[in-house]
C-alpha cells in the first residue's frame, strides 16, 4: 500500500457547497438539501482569465483552492494531478456544434474557446494562477477516473517524495453530448496529499491505497440520498472517502478499477 497524509480538502457538489457545508451533511449534523449550483468564479485567477476560463476549470479551481487553504504548503512548487472524465465537455460540445454548421468551414472558431477546450485547461489555469512551475498533470479514465487518478497521485507522492494536489472534477455537458455521457450535476473534490515523511503538522487523516487485481464494488456513502449521487457524476465516486474523512473514521473502501479495484484505508490522525 502507498501512503499519504491528507493535509487539505475541497468539495463542491449539489448541497455540498464547500467542505464546511459538506462535512456537516456527511456527518448528518445538517440535512442534505441537493440544489445543483455552480461555484462562484475563483478569485485566484486574474480578471481576464477568470472571464475566459470554462465552467469545468472554474469548478476544479474552486475545490483546489479550498484544499490548498490552510495546508501550509506553497502552491508555486506544488505538484498537481487533475482528473476528469470529460474535461471541458461543454466547450467541446460548443465547438462541435459550430464545426457542423453549414459552411462552418468559412467561419473561424473562437481561438479562446479552442485553447480552453484542452483537457488540461484546469491544470493550465491552476499553474497560471499561482505562477507555478511545478508539474500539473491531467488524466481521464471514464468511469474509473477516481480510482486510476488517485492511484497515480499516490504513486507520484511515493516516488517523488513531494506533496501532490489531487483534484477530481466533472461538469455537465449540454445537449446533445449530454445524451451520450451522463453527468447530471457538477461535482468536484480535491485532496492536498503529502508524503508521511514530510509530516510537519497534524494532518486531517492518513490515507493508504493500492491496486488489487480482483473486482470489488464501489463503497457508497451511508446516506441513501448521497449514495444516489454516485451514479450521476463519476467524480462523486469519491463520496465515501469524503464521508470517512468528515466522520473521522477508520475505514476500508473500494473503488472499481476495471476488472480490479483501488483499495483504500483511511484513518484519522491520532
Amino acid at each position: 500500500m502507498m501512503r499519504a497524509d491528507i493535509r487539505g480538502v475541497g468539495l463542491w457538489g449539489p448541497g455540498l457547497e464547500g467542505w464546511a457545508q459538506g462535512r456537516a451533511v456527511l456527518t448528518e449534523a445538517a440535512s442534505f438539501v441537493p440544489c445543483p449550483t455552480d461555484p462562484p468564479p475563483p478569485a485566484i485567477l486574474p480578471a481576464n482569465e477568470r472571464r475566459r476560463a470554462g465552467p469545468a476549470a472554474r469548478l476544479a479551481l474552486t475545490v483546489a483552492e479550498e484544499a490548498l487553504a490552510g495546508s501550509g504548503i506553497a502552491p508555486a512548487t506544488l505538484r498537481a494531478v487533475f482528473v476528469s472524465s470529460s474535461g471541458e465537455g461543454a466547450l467541446v460540445n460548443s465547438l462541435l456544434t459550430t464545426l457542423a454548421e453549414p459552411r462552418a468551414a468559412d467561419q473561424a472558431i473562437s481561438p479562446t474557446l479552442f485553447h480552453n477546450s484542452v483537457h488540461n485547461e484546469a491544470a493550465g489555469y491552476w499553474s497560471i494562477a499561482h505562477a507555478s512551475r511545478a508539474p500539473a498533470d491531467s488524466l481521464a479514465a471514464h468511469d474509473a477516473s477516481f480510482a486510476n487518478g488517485l492511484l497515480k497521485a499516490l504513486a507520484e507522492i511515493t516516488v517523488e517524495g513531494e506533496p501532490v494536489l489531487f483534484c477530481l472534477f466533472d461538469a455537465p455537458m449540454p445537449f446533445p453530448l449530454s445524451a451520450c455521457r451522463r453527468t447530471d450535476f457538477s461535482f468536484a473534490m480535491a485532496l492536498l496529499l503529502a508524503p508521511p515523511a514530510l509530516r510537519a503538522a497534524c494532518p486531517l487523516a492518513r490515507l493508504a491505497g493500492g491496486f488489487i487485481p480482483r473486482p470489488a464494488p464501489l463503497t457508497p456513502p451511508r446516506l441513501p440520498a448521497l449514495a444516489a449521487l454516485t451514479a450521476g457524476n463519476p467524480a462523486a465516486q469519491s463520496l465515501a472517502l469524503l464521508e470517512a474523512l468528515a466522520r473521522r473514521e477508520t475505514r476500508r473502501l473500494t473503488a472499481p478499477l476495471f476488472d480490479g479495484h483501488l483499495a483504500l484505508e483511511i484513518a484519522p490522525e491520532i
Partner: protein, 393 residues
C-alpha cells in the same frame, strides 16, 4: 532514477507504418507533408496524413471502437512486432501487472464531428449508432489498447495537449517505480480532425507552406497525425532505456510559450538531474520545434541556456508535421532510432537558419555513434516534458 528498459516500440506517421519506413524517410530527407485536403477550408496549410487509415479495420470484436484515432493506434499495435512483445511480457509477469498509459489531446473526436453533422433535424439528437464512450471519449485510446492487448492493469489517458504522449512515459515510470505494476504500454495518438485544423488556424498558427522549424522565415506549424507505442519493463534486458524525465509548467499563458522559456529550462534541468547527467553527456536533442516563431525562439533560448552551442539539436516536425499529443512518442521513437542507428536527423525545409538562434541547430543528417538523446515536448496550458533516452548499460 534507475534506467527503465524499453523492450519494444512502434510508430505510425505520415512517414510510413513502422520504424523501418520512418527511418528510411528520415535518411532520405523526405517530407510527408501535403496540401491540406482533409479540411481545406478550415485551416488550409499543409498536413501530414497517414495513408490507408480509412481502409483499415479493427478486429470484429472491437468494431465499436472504430474511429480515426483508434485505427491509428491499431496500426501501431500491429507494427514492429509490438503486439507479440507485449504478449510475451504478459505471459511472464501477468496481464494485471501491465498498465496502459496513453497520451492524446483530442482522442476520437472525428467520430464526434461526424455525429454532429448527422444530427436529427427535428430533435437535434446525435445518431443512435454514435458510441461516445468507445470513440470520442478521452479514455477511448487507452481503453482500446488495453482491450486489444488483453491487459488487466490500471489504465488511463494523459491529456496535457502536445506534451501528452511524452507525459505518458512519466506517469507510467512512477507507477512502475512505486511497485503498482511491472511494465507499461505508453505512447499515444492524435488524428487529423476539423477541430484542431480550424482551432490552430483561428489562433493564426498554421503555416501557409510546409512547416520549416528553425528557419528565419518560419510561419507556423503543419499538423500531422500519428500513433506510437513503447513497452517499459522493469528489470529486463534491452539495449535502450528511459534514463530520466523532467516536467514543469510555464504558469504563464494557455497557448503562448513563456518568453524566457523558464518552464522549458526547468523541464530539461529536471530530466538531467533525474538521470544524474551533465549537459555534456547529451549527444543530440530532438526539439519540440513546432515551427511557430514564438515556440522555436523560446526553445532555442532554453537549449542555449543549458547546452550553450555544444549539443546538436533539430526538430523533425518538418518531416512528420506536428502530431500534437502524439509528438512525444513519435519523437521518442526517432530518439531510439537515432541511438540504434548512430544517426542524427537534421531539420527539414530550412533555407536559412534563424540568425538569432544560438543553439547548435542541425540542418543536415549526420552519422556517428551516440549514447544519449534528450527529447522535448511542450503543450498548451504551459505543460512541459523532457525525456532522456540512452543505452541501458
Amino acid at each position: 532514477m534507475k534506467p527503465l528498459p524499453i523492450t519494444a516500440w512502434s510508430v505510425v506517421s505520415a512517414l510510413g507504418i513502422g520504424a523501418a519506413a520512418t527511418l528510411a524517410a528520415l535518411r532520405a530527407r523526405r517530407s510527408s507533408l501535403t496540401e491540406n485536403d482533409f479540411a481545406p477550408a478550415s485551416g488550409g496549410g499543409f498536413i501530414g496524413r497517414v495513408a490507408g487509415v480509412a481502409g483499415h479495420h479493427l478486429p470484429g470484436a472491437f468494431a465499436r471502437f472504430t474511429c480515426r484515432n483508434n485505427l491509428l493506434l491499431d496500426l501501431a499495435l500491429r507494427a514492429d512486432g509490438f503486439e507479440a512483445q507485449v504478449a510475451a511480457t504478459a505471459r511472464r509477469v501477468g496481464p494485471e501487472r501491465i498498465g496502459v498509459v496513453l497520451g492524446t489531446s483530442t482522442s476520437g473526436i472525428t467520430a464526434g464531428e461526424a455525429a454532429f453533422r448527422q444530427r436529427d433535424p427535428a430533435s437535434g439528437a446525435l445518431p443512435g449508432n454514435f458510441d461516445f464512450a468507445h470513440t470520442q471519449d478521452f479514455f477511448s485510446a487507452a481503453r482500446y489498447v488495453r482491450a486489444a492487448l488483453g491487459l488487466a492493469g490500471p489504465a488511463f489517458v494523459v491529456s496535457t495537449a502536445c506534451a501528452s504522449a511524452a507525459r505518458s512515459f512519466v506517469d507510467a515510470a512512477q507507477l512502475i517505480a512505486a511497485g503498482v505494476i511491472d511494465a507499461a504500454v505508453v505512447g499515444g495518438a492524435d488524428s487529423l480532425c476539423h477541430m484542431t485544423l480550424a482551432g490552430f488556424a483561428a489562433l493564426g498558427l498554421i503555416s501557409p507552406f510546409p512547416c520549416r522549424p528553425c528557419d528565419a522565415a518560419r510561419a507556423g506549424l503543419s499538423i500531422g497525425e500519428a500513433a506510437g507505442l513503447a513497452l517499459l519493463e522493469r528489470d529486463s534486458e534491452a539495449p535502450f532505456a528511459l534514463l530520466g524525465y523532467g516536467e514543469s509548467s510555464d504558469g504563464y499563458h494557455m497557448s503562448a510559450p513563456h518568453p524566457e522559456a523558464r518552464g522549458a529550462i526547468a523541464a530539461m534541468r529536471d530530466a538531467l538531474a533525474r538521470a544524474a547527467l551533465q549537459p555534456a553527456a547529451i549527444d543530440y536533442i530532438n526539439l519540440h520545434g513546432t515551427g511557430t516563431p514564438a515556440n522555436d525562439a523560446s526553445e532555442d533560448r532554453a537549449v542555449f541556456e543549458i547546452f550553450a552551442d555544444q549539443t546538436p539539436c533539430s526538430s523533425t516536425k518538418g518531416f512528420t508535421g506536428h502530431t500534437l499529443g502524439a509528438s512525444g512518442i513519435v519523437e521518442a521513437v526517432i530518439a531510439l532510432l537515432a541511438l540504434h542507428e548512430g544517426f542524427l536527423p537534421g531539420c527539414l525545409g530550412v533555407t536559412r537558419l534563424d540568425p538569432s538562434f544560438r543553439a547548435r541547430v542541425l540542418l543536415d543528417n549526420e552519422s556517428r555513434p551516440i549514447r544519449r538523446v534528450l527529447s522535448n515536448s511542450f503543450g498548451f496550458g504551459g505543460a512541459n516534458c523532457s525525456l532522456i533516452f540512452g543505452r541501458a548499460g
